[in-house]
């Protein structure tokens, strides 16, 4: 098992290096100069050159890259050009929030999808099934930010039940923090549950037609037991893969949702840093998200045998 993990991680190293180089080049290909951003419209050439030298941006690109990579390998992602804060700290601080929203939302979406998809498949072609499939299909068609704005308008403004923008760290006030997170989490849950429900329903339909389900029924097991013990684990395995992919992507930042709900999350940090040409932050964030993506997918693969023991036969 350990050697498998090591092998998997080793296989992803080239990917990570590729990602780093790509990020490094792309961000520098974007027109715009961080020094200019810092100094503004009236800055003179000498001051610009000075700031560039301070930031090490006057060195040749390969030198900059190697130096960045060397530091990154030692866990030092450098400091933000804009705020001067260490990038690693910035990322972790923002990631905590994104991770909280994403994990809660994806868990909720998975639970909803598992229950709704399984039930719909079980009562296939009934009114209930139609309702589930219909809702899931409609949900798929709604842009997440539009949904977010509508929720904000409804619950934040018209009804005033929930605080509508901003975020309070848990360390400051747990209750407030939770209240602020309700709408982003709900939005993301709704958005993500559409695909997962459809996936769960179709794999449940496939599993329900298999002999071992009939066999379980032929043993005299009740429908509840048949569904939870025999259908669910097998139908859930493909959904789990999708959950993993979803997690991997969402943990990389939910820029749009964070924008709608003004959450200082990782996605927003990345977008803002691109817009400010804050090279170290962009590089750090993307490297970090790539690692997260790889690790999440690895974790999902490691969880997979829980639902489908055939997979352990590597």
């Amino acid at each position: 098992m350990l050697s498998y993990i090591c092998k998997r991680l080793a296989l992803t190293l080239p990917t990570l290096v590729l990602v780093s180089i790509a990020v490094f080049l792309i961000i520098r290909l974007i027109p715009g100069d961080p020094a200019l951003v810092l100094l503004g419209e009236g800055a003179d050439g000498a001051a610009l050159a000075g700031v560039r030298a301070d930031l090490g941006l006057d060195r040749p690109l390969p030198v900059q890259f190697v130096s960045w990579l060397q530091h990154a390998l030692r866990g030092d992602l450098g400091r933000s050009i804009v705020s001067g804060e260490p990038v690693a700290g910035l990322i972790l601080q923002r990631f905590g929030l994104t991770a909280a929203v994403v994990l809660v939302a994806v868990t909720a979406a998975t639970l909803i999808a598992a229950a709704a998809g399984l039930t719909a498949a079980w009562r296939r072609n009934s009114a209930l099934d139609l309702a589930v499939v219909g809702t899931a299909t409609v949900v798929l068609a709604i842009p997440s930010f539009w949904l977010g704005l509508v929720l904000l308008l409804l619950f934040g403004l018209k009804l005033g039940w929930l605080p509508f923008v901003g975020y309070i760290p848990f360390s400051e006030s747990a209750v407030q923090a939770l209240l602020f997170l309700v709408m982003p989490v709900v939005t993301l849950t709704i958005t993500e549950s559409g695909v997962l429900t459809r996936m769960m329903r179709s794999s449940s339909i496939d599993v329900l037609q298999l002999d071992y389900v009939t066999h379980a029924r032929a043993k005299g097991l009740s429908e509840r037991v048949v569904l939870t013990r025999h259908v669910f684990p097998n139908a859930f395995a493909p959904t789990l893969t999708l959950v993993g992919l979803t997690l991997g992507h969402l943990l990389g930042g939910i820029a749009v949702i964070e924008t709608v709900f003004t959450l200082p999350g990782l996605g927003r940090l990345m977008v803002d840093s691109v817009l400010a040409r804050d090279y170290p932050v962009v590089q750090g964030c993307l490297l970090f998200t790539a690692v997260v993506y790889v690790v999440v997918n690895l974790l999902v693969d490691l969880c997979y045998p829980l639902f489908d023991p055939r997979v352990t036969a590597r």
Binding site: G32, P34, L36, G50, V51, V82, G84, E85, V165, P264
Partner: protein, 525 residues
């Protein structure tokens, strides 16, 4: 949440990107004593005046440090740490007499030694003082020497006469050339914290959350009323807290709920629902900024003044200003802002839109309908909107503009190298008309940012710098303005207003043309 109906009423505008919560937290953990809470859209970048800076940084530090002189409301220099000064007949030697009663935040008294140390520090290249270039080869003058015949007198000798010397020293982006105690840096010269003489001293700075200033109890204000950055500066509250709230709807919600006292620098569209509330007071002050359409006169197509004029003639400046600033801005085709004392009848002349004439000029110029690129960005909503409106207006005369929306860094880059055909650009407040024209006039080879590169304009601009006489300068500015309208190197569009809203229990808040938040003399009921 109890006041949901209020919230609902007021907060429609859901522009988004920030954190109200951070502000609320900051409010909850506020220190004892009275706290005045204002808002910044983004965090400050350093605590060192005039070096690593932006507008917010300037605003904070002007509460903490003071220069020898400070700008009055009208932009003219007034006594601050120097009680008076004299200028030699040749205009080269400035002799400042320091006030005797001033002490630094660390308790040390102000003497000529600190002044000389501070000025020399600014003049060292490694300090990266924003205004160092003004005292270099191409600037207003070089500093020949700084001496102190006695502890209360400082003599600065320049290599040539420089009427702009004091107006430069007071500039906010130069940090007001604030005088610092040498303990502001450590033994190696690295920056620690500003130890100044201002009415407030630097408090806690929590990144992306707030910047706090504490009342400096032993501050002795000048007599008289507040006047720009000069005059009587009174610390009326124990703490000033600038909350970092990027999102304006969050900020407005905070203001309405009472989590914020002052909301400055609103975009016109953000006023929806705030204006006219009884518990809020709305202020609108015209400022010295300038929104303009820059034209690259080196472009083969646009080097033809007829086409440039045609574009200008399609623009209904009044209509555009009204639509884009929601009636808060003032149309102005001259580079000199309406609020400037130099904005006379010549400057007040507005170009009459004339689509028919524009069409004639377009034909005369032989324009074949090819797309002309118009660069803009969304740094503030107005810049983007201007582009959309100009595009639609130009289309009426058959001029095909193609909007290229880039992000702010790219916009700045393009501006800096002059790589565009048309560009919407905004310029922050310039206190002196020379500076306002200086935005446009210059040698393109040396500085590609300049759009107006004619020997005559450069010559006239030089003369405005060398002269100290108001009437003479006015005449020069009038000539420049007429040329500017005729040659169309750019189309000045409007000056906006600084829009702010304060809660009605806030006393003494007043915005001013320099558009920099100024919270001394402001108290709470």
């Amino acid at each position: 949440m109890a006041r949901s109906s209020h919230v609902a009423h007021v907060l429609g505008t859901l522009a988004v990107s920030g954190a109200l919560a951070l502000g609320l937290v900051a409010w909850q953990v506020a220190a004892a004593g009275t706290v005045l809470r204002a808002r910044f859209k983004s965090d400050i970048v350093s605590t060192s005046p005039g070096t690593r800076r932006d507008e917010n940084t300037d605003a904070v530090l002007l509460h903490v440090v003071e220069g020898l002189v400070a700008s009055r409301e009208d932009g003219s220099p007034a006594p601050m740490l120097a009680s008076r000064w004299t200028v030699s007949a040749d205009g080269r030697i400035y002799t400042f007499t320091l006030r005797p009663d001033v002490i630094f935040h660390n308790g040390a008294p102000l003497t000529a030694a600190e002044v000389i140390w501070s000025l020399q520090r600014y003049l060292k290249p490694q300090t990266r003082w924003r205004c160092l270039a003004e005292f270099g080869e191409h600037g207003i003058a070089r500093v020949a020497s700084i001496t102190a015949p006695d502890p209360h007198t400082v003599i600065i000798t320049l290599d040539r006469a420089a009427p702009m010397f004091l107006t430069t020293l007071v500039r906010a982006d130069c940090g007001g050339t604030g005088i610092l105690h040498p303990d502001s840096v450590d033994a190696d010269g690295n920056w620690r914290a500003p130890i100044g003489t201002g009415p407030y001293e630097m408090g806690e700075w929590r990144h992306n959350q707030f910047v706090e200033l504490n009342r400096f109890a032993r501050y002795s204000p000048l007599p008289g009323a507040r006047d720009g950055n000069a005059g009587g500066k009174h610390a009326l509250v124990d703490h000033i807290r600038f909350l970092i709230i990027p999102d304006s709807s969050a900020a407005r919600a905070a203001l309405i709920r009472g989590s914020l006292d002052i909301l400055d620098n609103l975009a016109p569209s953000e006023l929806t629902g705030i204006r006219g509330r009884p518990d809020l007071e709305f202020q609108q002050v015209p400022i010295l900024d300038c929104y303009a359409l820059l034209i690259q006169t080196r472009d083969p197509l646009l080097s033809d003044v007829r086409l440039r004029t045609a574009i200008a003639l399609t623009i209904d400046t009044v209509g555009l200003t009204k639509a884009i600033t929601w009636g808060t801005g003032t149309a102005d085709n001259s580079p000199i802002p309406v609020a400037s004392p130099f904005h006379g009848p010549v400057e007040a002349h507005l170009r009459k839109p004339d689509v028919g004439e524009a069409r004639r000029l377009v034909r005369a110029a032989g324009y074949d309908g090819r797309a002309i690129q118009l660069v803009t960005s969304r740094r503030d909503p107005q810049m983007f909107d201007i582009a959309v409106v100009i595009q639609a207006m130009a289309a009426e005369a058959g001029i095909h503009l193609q909007i290229d929306t880039v992000d702010w860094p790219a916009h700045l880059s393009l501006y800096t190298v002059g790589n565009y055909q048309l560009m919407v650009q905004s310029f922050s407040a310039r206190l002196d008309p020379t500076l306002s024209f200086g935005i446009f006039i210059g040698d393109k080879r040396e500085d590609p940012r300049k759009v107006w590169d004619t020997p005559r304009s450069r010559e006239l601009l030089g003369q405005t710098m060398a002269s100290a006489d108001s009437a003479a300068r006015q005449a020069l500015f009038d000539t420049l303005t007429r040329d500017f309208l005729a040659e169309v190197p750019a189309v000045a569009l409007f000056n906006s207003s600084r829009l702010s809203v304060v809660r009605s229990n806030v006393t003494g808040y007043r915005n001013w043309t320099a558009a920099q938040q100024r919270l001394w003399g402001v108290g709470l009921n």
